[in-house]
C-alpha cells in the first residue's frame, strides 16, 4: 500500500476492484465505513455481488479479466472531458514528456514486437532526449508525441459502449462509476483504490495495476491522504517476506539478484544502478552500491573485504526465470532432487495442482516445515496414488505458531509490528528460526570438512548467540545494520558496533552492514522501533508515528511530496499529510519523502524519488508487455478480443493444456471466504471455523442452475483442461450471467481453500487453473479460466 489502513477513512471515493475487503480484510472495512459515514462513496467493481458490493453505493459487474478495458474507458472519460488534476499531471507525472518518433501501436501490438520470443525490443518506447540528455517536454501537453497525447489517442478507442461490450457492465452503472471517480480530479478531493488478487492474477496483472495507478495519477490522487494505490495483502507477513526477498529475482530491500553477466560487483553496480541527467531527480536507486555492499557485509561479515569484492562471488547468479511456474515445470521435468517447504502448501495453492503433485513424485527428498500435516506433506498418500511407487524421503518438521516465538511482521500498510512469545510450542515443535539455525550449523560443520565451493557456507556470518534458538533480537539488529568501524558520515561521528540510524548513512566501502536497507532505521541505538506502542496522533490524521515502525524511515504515506503544490502547500488543506513551514523552512506532518525544499525553489527534487526521472509514469517503458495497458483476453476466454486481433497478451507464450474449443463454456474464477484462509491448513484444522464453513462449494447463477437442472446442495463435477473436482452447488442471485458482445456468458465461482487432508476437506479449485502467468511477474492466471459443470459427483 502507498497509504495504510487507517488512512482509508480520509477518502471521498473508495474503489474496490479485484478485492473484497468486507470478506477478506474484514477489520479494514471499519475505515471504509468511517469514510462513508463522512459522505464518501463506495464503488465495488467485481464479477460477483460480494459482501463489499452489498455495502456499496455503486456496484459495477465486470467479466473476470477485463479490468484494463474498464479502466481504459475511465481514462478516456477523464481525458475527453478534461477531468484531470492538471497542475499535478504536468508537474508530477511524465505526461509532458515526448516519446520517440518510432513508437507506435498497431492492432494490439506495440512497436518492437518479436513474435518468436513473445517479447518486445523496447528501444522505440524511449523518451526523446535534449542536448543535456534529459527528456524533452511540452508543458502545454499539446505536442503529438507527448505522453499525454499518445495516451489520449490510445484510450480514445475505449468508448463506454465498447468497454461495456467487453466487460459486460451495464452502461448506466459504468457511467455512474466514471462520474463518481472523476469528481476527485479536484485538488481537494481524493479517491483510493483497494485492490487484491482479483487484479494481479492475470496474464496482464501488472498492467491491471498500472491502469489503476494511471487513473490515480491523472486525478492527482497519489501521495494524498485517503488516496494512493493500495494492495490488500492476504497474508500477515507477505509484505515482509517480499521485502526480505524470498523470491528468485530480488535480494532484501528489492535489490536485484545478480545475473550471470554481472561478472563482479562493479559490473553489478553498473548494470543495476539507474542513472539520470536531471539534477532535480533524487533517483534514490543511485544508492544501490551502498545497499548491496552493506548486504554482503551482513551476509559474510569479516570475510567480505574490498579486496575480494565483498564476497560477491558467493552469491548465486541467475541465468533465467526461476519463478514459481517455471520452478514447478522444472520439478515436473525431474530437475530437482530436493525441496524445502516453509509453511506452504503448493498442491492446494499452486496452479494446475495435479501437475505439481506428480512432479513431487520425482523428488529424492522433501522437507516440509509446518504447524499441520498439509496436503503437500502427504502428497505420497494422496487419493489415487500408491505410496509404494513413490521413493521420496519426506521430513515433516513441527513448527511453532505465531504466539510461540518472537519477531516482527509487516502489514499491508508497511507497519512492522513486534510479536512476543506467549508460550512454548507444543511437544517438540520449534520455531522456523531454530530450524534454519540447525541446518546452517550442521552444514557449516560438514562443509568445514569437504564439499563443492564450501566458502559461502563456511564463511557465512552466523552470530546469533549460544541459546537454544537464534537470538531474534540480534537478528533484528543485523537486519537494520551497524557500523563496522569508527567513521564520520555527513559530519556525524559513529563508533564501531553502533546501529546505523537510517539508510541515509549506509556506505559502499564496507564500513556499514545492513541485512535489509529498507529496514535500516527499524532498530537504532534508541532501541527496537518495531516494539513501540505510543498512541500519540499529533496531526490527528491517524499516522500514529510512535506505534511500531514502518518502512521507509517511518514514513506513513509514500510519495507524500506529491500531496502538496509547488509551494509546498497541501492540495487539500483540510487533510494535510505534510506542509512546508516557510518560517522554520521545514516540513511538518508525516516524514516527508525526502526533506528537500518545495518544487518552486532551487535544490528541490521531484516527488517520485524511486523513479530515475522523478516523475510518476503514465507511460512506462520498462514493462515486458507495453508502455500503456491494453486490453487482451485471458488465455482461456469464451469470446474473441473485441479491441484488436491479438487475442491474448502477446508477451506471454501460450502454454500447453489451454482449451478454447468450446468444450469448456463457462468462465471460472476463484476467491476466498472470511472463515478460511489461503490453502486452508490454518483454518480447516480449527473446529470453530470448520463449523462455520465445513464444505467446498461452487457458486452459479439461477439461470445456469435452471439450464443444468441443478438445485442448491446438489453434487456437481467441475472440469477444465487440467482436471476435475466435485463440490456442492450453491445457486445464487449474487452471480449473474454477463452480456458480452451480444452473448450471455455464465460464471462459475469457487473458493480455493480446500484439499483432501485436514479436519474439513474438499475439492481443490486449483486442480482447474492453468499454469500460465503475467508477462511481468509470472503470477498465475488464477482468476479467469474456462470450465464446465455437470450434475453428479466425479464417480456418478
Amino acid at each position: 500500500m502507498t497509504n495504510h489502513w487507517i488512512d482509508i477513512q480520509h477518502a471521498d471515493v473508495i474503489v474496490c476492484i479485484g478485492s473484497n475487503p468486507a470478506e477478506n480484510h474484514p477489520v479494514s472495512f471499519k475505515y471504509v465505513e468511517k469514510a462513508m459515514d463522512n459522505g464518501a462513496k463506495l464503488i465495488s467493481v467485481d464479477p460477483r455481488y460480494t459482501r463489499t458490493s452489498s455495502k456499496a453505493d455503486i456496484y459495477a459487474q465486470l467479466r473476470p479479466g477485463t479490468d484494463i478495458a474498464f479502466m481504459g474507458g475511465l481514462i478516456n472519460y477523464l481525458l475527453t472531458n478534461d477531468l484531470i488534476q492538471k497542475e499535478y499531471v504536468v508537474h508530477y507525472t511524465n505526461a509532458a514528456f515526448l516519446v520517440s518518433e518510432d513508437f507506435d501501436f498497431n492492432d494490439g501490438l506495440f512497436s518492437g514486437y518479436d513474435p518468436e520470443n513473445f517479447s518486445y525490443n523496447k528501444e522505440s518506447w524511449a523518451y526523446q532526449l535534449n542536448d543535456n540528455g534529459m527528456p524533452k517536454r511540452d508543458d502545454t501537453l499539446e505536442h503529438p508525441r507527448s505522453v499525454y497525447q499518445l495516451m489520449k489517442k490510445h484510450y480514445a478507442r475505449y468508448t463506454p459502449e465498447k468497454v461495456c461490450e467487453i466487460t459486460g457492465t451495464e452502461i448506466q452503472s459504468y457511467m455512474e462509476v466514471a462520474r463518481t471517480i472523476a469528481s476527485t480530479h479536484k485538488a481537494d478531493k481524493v479517491a483510493t483504490v483497494m485492490y487484491a488478487m482479483g487484479t494481479t492474477q492475470h496474464t496482464y496483472g501488472t498492467q491491471n495495476v498500472r491502469s489503476y495507478a494511471m487513473l490515480q495519477l491523472l486525478l492527482g490522487n497519489i501521495g494524498m491522504a485517503g488516496g494512493g494505490i493500495n494492495a490488500l495483502r492476504g497474508e500477515s507477513n507477505v509484505q515482509g517476506s517480499t521485502d526480505y526477498a524470498i523470491l528468485y529475482h530480488i535480494l532484501p530491500g528489492y535489490l536485484k539478484v545478480p545475473t550471470y553477466d554481472n561478472v563482479n560487483l562493479a559490473a553489478y553496480n553498473e548494470k543495476w544502478t539507474p542513472k539520470t541527467n536531471d539534477p532535480q531527480s533524487a533517483n534514490w536507486w543511485s544508492n544501490t552500491p551502498k545497499y548491496m555492499t552493506s548486504l554482503l557485509k551482513a551476509y559474510w561479515g569479516e570475510a567480505a573485504t574490498e579486496q575480494n569484492d565483498f564476497c560477491y562471488d558467493y552469491l548465486p547468479k541467475r541465468s533465467g526465470n526461476y519463478s514459481y511456474i517455471r520452478l514447478m515445470e522444472r520439478l515436473q521435468n525431474g530437475g530437482f532432487e530436493g525441496m524445502v517447504f516453509m509453511g506452504t502448501n503448493p498442491i492446494v495453492g499452486g496452479p494446475d495442482v495435479n501437475a505439481i503433485a506428480s512432479g513431487m513424485d520425482k523428488l529424492k527428498w522433501l522437507v516440509a516445515v509446518d504447524l499441520w500435516e498439509t496436503e503437500s506433506s502427504v502428497f505420497w498418500k494422496r487419493p489415487g496414488v500408491d505410496p509404494k511407487s513413490i521413493d521420496t524421503e519426506v521430513f515433516l518438521l513441527p513448527a511453532a505458531s505465531s504466539v510461540e516465538k518472537e519477531g516482527s511482521i509487516s502489514n499491508s500498510g508497511r507497519w512492522t509490528q513486534w510479536r512476543y512469545k506467549a508460550v512454548n510450542p507444543p511437544g517438540h515443535a520449534e520455531s522456523d528460526a531454530f530450524i534454519v539455525h540447525q541446518w546452517v550449523t550442521h552444514l557449516k560443520k560438514l562443509y568445514q570438512e569437504d564439499g563443492v565451493f564450501p566458502e559461502p557456507i563456511v564463511d557465512l556470518a552466523w552470530n546469533y548467540g549460544d541459546g537454544h534458538e537464534p537470538d531474534i533480537d540480534l537478528v533484528a539488529r543485523e537486519c537494520n545494520g551497524r557500523f563496522t568501524r569508527d567513521v564520520v558520515i555527513k559530519g556525524k561521528a559513529f563508533k564501531k558496533g553502533e546501529q546505523v540510524p537510517s539508510f541515509a548513512y549506509l556506505q559502499a566501502d564496507g564500513s556499514t552492514t545492513s541485512g535489509n536497507w529498507l529496514y535500516c532505521n527499524s532498530y537504532t541505538e534508541e532501541g527496537n522501533m518495531m516494539q513501540r506502542r505510543g498512541k500519540e496522533d499529533p496531526t490527528g490524521m491517524g499516522f500514529y508515528p510512535n506505534w511500531a515502525w514502518c518502512w521507509p524511515v517511518n514514513r506513513r504515506v509514500l510519495y507524500n511530496r506529491a500531496s502538496v503544490d509547488l509551494q509546498g502547500r497541501p492540495w487539500n488543506p483540510k487533510k494535510p499529510i505534510i506542509s512546508w513551514n516557510s518560517m522554520t523552512r521545514k516540513w511538518e506532518g508525516d516524514v516527508p519523502d525526502g526533506g528537500w525544499v518545495p518544487m518552486n525553489e532551487d535544490e528541490t527534487k521531484s516527488p517520485f524519488i524511486m523513479i530515475p526521472e522523478g516523475y510518476g509514469r503514465l507511460f512506462a517503458a520498462g514493462l515486458a508487455d507495453g508502455p500503456l495497458p491494453e486490453h487482451y483476453e485471458p488465455m482461456e476466454s469464451p469470446v474473441a478480443n473485441a479491441m484488436t486481433s491479438q487475442q491474448c497478451n502477446p508477451a506471454v507464450a501460450i502454454p500447453g493444456k489451454i482449451n478454447n474449443s468450446g468444450k469448456y463454456p463457462y468462465v471460472g474464477t476463484t476467491y476466498r471466504v472470511s472463515e478460511h484462509w489461503q490453502a486452508g491448513a490454518m483454518t480447516r484444522n480449527l473446529p470453530w471455523l470448520v463449523e462455520l464453513v465445513p464444505d467446498m462449494f461452487v457458486e452459479i447463477s439461477e439461470e445456469l442452475a435452471e439450464s443444468k437442472s441443478l438445485k442448491n446442495g446438489d453434487m456437481v463435477t467441475i472440469s477444465s483442461e487440467r482436471g476435475q473436482i466435485e463440490a456442492r452447488v450453491l445457486v445464487t442471485e449474487r452471480i449473474k450471467p454477463l452480456r458480452v458482445q451480444g452473448k450471455l456468458v455464465e460464471q462459475v465461482g469457487m473458493p480455493w481453500h480446500f484439499g483432501f487432508n485436514g479436519l474439513a476437506t474438499g475439492g481443490t479449485a486449483n486442480t482447474l487453473t492453468a499454469a500460465v502467468g503475467c508477462a511481468n511477474t509470472t503470477i498465475p492466471e488464477f482468476k479467469a479460466f474456462l470450465c464446465n459443470i455437470e450434475k453428479g459427483g466425479i464417480n456418478s
Partner: protein
C-alpha cells in the same frame, strides 16, 4: 477428529472460566474487563492471518494460553477481530498440531517418529549431497563462460508465514547454499 462439538465447547469454556473469576459473569466482560483476566499473564501479538495487522492480547496461565482477544489499545483494530483472528485460540490449543518430527521412508505408507538430532543430520547430509552433485560453477552462454555458482538441485518455497527475522535467516541460508529457485506465496 471430525467436527467436534466437544472441542468447540472446551475452547469456549476456558474463556468462560476466565470470565467467572469476577464472580459476576454477566457484568464481568463489560464493566470490569480487568477482573476477567485477573491473575493471568498477558502479552501482545499481531494476527497471523491477513495483512490488516490487527493487535491481540494473549492471556496465559501456567504456560497455557487461556484466552486471546482483540487489543483495544491497537490503533487499527481497536479491539475488534474477524472470524479468523477470533479463532487464533484454537491454533494454540489444537490436538491436530504437529508436535513431533515425522519421517517417511522411500516407498513407505506411514510416518515414523524421529528425533531432531537424527533428522537434522540426515537432512544436512541430503542437502549437501544434492548441492555438491548439482552445483553449477560455470555456465557457457552465447559462447562466453560465466561464473554462476548456483545449486540447481534444490528449490526452496516459503515463507509468508515466517517473521521478518526468520525470512532474513532463510534467505541468507538459501543464498549461501547457492539456491536460485527460491520462491514463495507472493508470486501466487
Amino acid at each position: 477428529m471430525g467436527i467436534s462439538r466437544r472441542n468447540f465447547i472446551k475452547g469456549s469454556c476456558l474463556t468462560a472460566g476466565a470470565v467467572a473469576l469476577t464472580g459476576k459473569q454477566s457484568e464481568a466482560g463489560v464493566d470490569s474487563p480487568e477482573m476477567r483476566t485477573k491473575g493471568l499473564q498477558t502479552s501482545t501479538t499481531v494476527c497471523p492471518y491477513c495483512a490488516v495487522g490487527c493487535g491481540m492480547i494473549v492471556h496465559t496461565k501456567n504456560g497455557k494460553i487461556v484466552n486471546i482477544e482483540g487489543d483495544t489499545e491497537h490503533p487499527i483494530n481497536q479491539g475488534s477481530l474477524c472470524s479468523k483472528g477470533s479463532a487464533l485460540f484454537q491454533v494454540a490449543n489444537n490436538e491436530r498440531r504437529l508436535d513431533k518430527v515425522q519421517y517417511r521412508a522411500p516407498g513407505s505408507d506411514k510416518w515414523e517418529e524421529k528425533s531432531w538430532d537424527w533428522a537434522m543430520q540426515r537432512m544436512a547430509k541430503l542437502m549437501k549431497e544434492t548441492r555438491d552433485r548439482n552445483f553449477v560453477t560455470e555456465e557457457e552462454i552465447n559462447g562466453t563462460t560465466y561464473t554462476v555458482n548456483r545449486n540447481d538441485g534444490m528449490a526452496m518455497l516459503g515463507a509468508a508465514a515466517l517473521d521478518n527475522e526468520e525470512c532474513y535467516l532463510l534467505g541468507k541460508f538459501a543464498r549461501a547454499m547457492g539456491v536460485g529457485y527460491l520462491e514463495h506465496q507472493a508470486r501466487i
